[in-house]
Symmetry: C2
Subunit: 486 residues, 2 copies
């Protein structure tokens, strides 16, 4: 019997199944790779190792496949490896898919009862000497930072983390080195319980609090400030009825409001306050910070469902309403009567996956980056039939001047998330390099583009040319060699 993936654009072109572990010594590149780039750039892509068992499954349900770019002495070695999750190992051994549709255990085969269905396909973070691959529906999976081989397929911080899930977007406080994480649906499917954790720089859980959300909705990312945690509950609601009929975990329920919650770091959670807003979607946080007693969070916010593959209950998917723009959310803790949050669209560019200079996580900051979709830029005919995000620019924002500059790689490229790397530990904010995957539709091969982060409009300083095509990635994470070896 054959082993075939669906014949559709979701599994062809740059979406073709990748399925490999590769080792590439000394990648080919144009230009010059700065000596200062000394460390590991990790990025991750969902990559079904077996054809999905259900046609309603979503791209987010692929198995995590990590790419490691190891920079040293102006050269770069490349490695890819699947994250050895419980799910991956079971499916690899069975040589077929065993799990069902997106985050719906009712559709899993009996063989995998009791195993974690986590795909670890969303993000990576290195903290206290450990590298974790992350998916928000399950605990971290610890992998070796050099070989990417599995170390712990269900990491619970020595049993101190009792939540059944852990965010794919932990933040590291640049001052005290704590890693802050949230866990939603923390007591199981559709639970409204959210656990909050801080892990000290030695890797020990040093704070835990539990809160409850107004309804069980996706809380994909969150912000920290020096004093608070802020999170946005969006109408991408857990839908048990849909799951009971074999559907995926979420459906967009535009009848629900959004809620912006703010709770003190290191408290017991009882100070939690909710601020209501209309139907809103936002995927990611650029940064958050305190401004006096105000809490400010910048996100790529849209007015409707941003995920076409998750059902909308009350309307058709609307590309206009899905378009996110960098939006500043503000609440004033001194205003004890406030029940709503304030939003301001900061820039008109349509984009997703904002990032910042992470040395400024939780603190007042000026510089951010976002992959955007600029409809005025030319687009190569070779891109026809491409499904997925057709991001074509990276934009740098300097909030102090509310100015921006743009990198457009050319009409034959799509871009993925970008990663800022400081030139040195004490370089000024935003001084360093910007890098990320660019898929070249002329060669049908992937590249890693590297820019001077202060002058991205000038184009690449180096293009690393891979002999493979990488799929649509999710997030990346830079770890300097100092940190790796400390």
């Amino acid at each position: 019997m054959s082993l075939e993936f669906p014949k559709n654009p979701g599994f062809s072109g740059f979406n073709a199944p990748f399925r490999m572990n590769i080792d590439l010594h000394d990648a080919e590149f144009e230009g010059e790779i700065p000596e200062e780039l000394n460390g590991h750039f990790y990025r991750i892509q969902p990559d079904f190792i077996y054809p999905p068992r259900f046609s309603n499954d979503v791209p987010f349900n692929g198995d995590g496949n990590v790419t490691l770019f190891n920079f040293q002495h102006g050269r770069v070695d490349v490695k890819t490896h699947h994250v050895e999750t419980q799910r991956y190992k079971a499916q690899k051994q069975a040589r077929k898919a065993l799990f069902g549709t997106y985050r719906n255990p009712r559709t899993d085969l009996d063989d995998v009862k009791g195993l974690s269905g986590g795909t670890a396909n969303t993000n990576l973070i290195f903290h206290a000497g450990k590298l974790f691959a992350l998916k928000e529906d399950s605990p971290p999976v610890q992998v070796d930072p050099y070989t990417l081989k599995g170390i712990d397929d269900y990491y619970t911080f020595d049993g101190k983390m009792t939540a059944k899930t852990f965010t794919a977007h932990p933040k590291i406080d640049p001052v005290n080195g704590e890693m802050i994480g949230i866990a939603y649906e923390a007591k199981g499917e559709a639970s409204k319980d959210v656990a909050l954790y801080a892990v000290d720089k030695q890797g020990n859980v040093c704070w835990e609090a539990w809160i409850e959300v107004p309804y069980a909705g996706m809380i994909h990312d969150f912000a920290i400030t020096e004093t608070h945690i802020a999170l946005l509950v969006t109408p991408m609601a857990v839908n048990v009825e849909q799951m009971e009929q074999g559907g995926v975990h979420f459906a967009w329920d535009s009848s629900l409001p959004s809620y912006f919650g703010v709770v003190a770091r290191n408290g017991d959670g009882t100070d939690l306050r909710w601020y209501e807003g209309p139907e809103k979607c936002a995927t990611h946080v650029m940064n958050g910070f305190n401004d006096g007693n105000k809490i400010i969070v910048d996100m790529d916010m849209a007015t409707g469902n941003q995920f076409p593959f998750f059902p909308s209950l009350h309307e058709q998917f609307d590309l206009q309403r899905a378009s996110g723009r960098l939006t500043r959310i503000t609440i004033d803790l001194d205003d004890k009567e406030a029940t709503t949050y304030h939003t301001e669209v900061m820039y008109q560019d349509i984009g997703v996956l904002p990032r910042t200079d992470e040395r400024y996580w939780s603190r007042p900051y000026n510089v951010g980056f976002m992959p955007c979709m600029d409809p005025t830029k030319p687009r190569s005919p070779s891109m026809a039939g491409n499904v997925g995000m057709t991001l074509n620019t990276w934009v740098r924002y300097d909030h102090d001047k509310r100015s921006s500059q743009t990198y457009f790689p050319g009409e034959n490229y799509t871009l993925q998330e970008c990663q800022f790397v400081p030139k040195s530990d004490d370089a000024p904010e935003g001084c360093g390099y910007l890098m990320g995957i660019a898929n070249n539709f002329d060669t049908m091969l992937s590249e890693l583009h590297i820019l001077d982060a202060e002058n991205i409009a000038a184009g690449t300083i180096a293009k690393v040319k891979l002999p493979v095509r990488l799929r649509q990635g999710v997030h990346g994470h830079w770890v300097s060699r100092n940190k790796l070896e400390s």
Copy 2:
């Protein structure tokens, strides 16, 4: 400083540098992989790990990169790995090319004096429990048959092989299990000495003889019969003057005749006889055998230089004269006066890389296979700019009926060498499967096509679809699981 390959068709499209070691568990495939396919199919491609240092270098100078297709239970796992030659290891460590142009040590850097320049990029053979990667200018390189990692980068059969070279085309006698090999330029560059070896089925050298050729020319392949070894010396002559000017090892000297030599197996070499013919080129032997006291050898013979990248001394490269056709060479040992060999073009198809059912190596046989270039078949516009062999058909020949049948994969494919695998150890001649790499110019990814060898005109029974593009390969070698594990 950049690390860039020349921007030309020799290093783009399906010729793009590969440079990876990959592990692919359970490859995607259409159709059905027969349970009887149980073993390892190895094939090898030259793949420069660093940009060649000289613009006159030839594709044959790339580092050997093995692909292993591991068939079992109707599934196939795929692995690629570079052959860990002395050259590969030195260049990998230096992170640059150290060796010079094709088989010209004058152009090597001083760093590598004393190291073998062998690329092990041409063929593989499994004998007496050992897998060897082969290049005719150096001794075998032993690699692990499962991991492809290096075991011995200069294998001399426990020191019993004193020749400095070893053929890329050893033959295994199907009756006594001996591996027969020749070594040309056996005492060093331009030497006319050829060593002949037999290695018994325990892996010990059991016969050695030395002969001398009329001039030092390429002897890429040779034939064995039950009683004799036969070899063709072609005017692809070693050219020391050219090398002293920084040129490659060979130049085509059409002023030279070709010589067909015949010498008894297991003798002392003194019975050697030479039969002269006009300028001829032939790359490979389909098979050889005794017919009474006649020695018969079938090769893909052309009337002129078949290698456009090796200089021709006296004329331009001529595609018509380069075209090889399966040609039967006959000499009669009883005719003591004969000084020339007889040729008969068996079929009109233009092809290279003939193969046979290797259970019939050295014995009378009927069935052979050859990749051919059929100019009457349509060719996809997507193939424009492709350089290299544009073989578009595999042809099966049944010599008893002088009949043939053809597999044409479609206008968007080029084909590489094909490999016959018997259905079982005692299946009739030519009963089994035919497989080889097909490069798909629509997807720009490689496939392994598998056919019923008795009915190749019916098309594939399975297509294994790889997530990479493989470069122009050279030779392949099948090893059944029984043999692997014995």
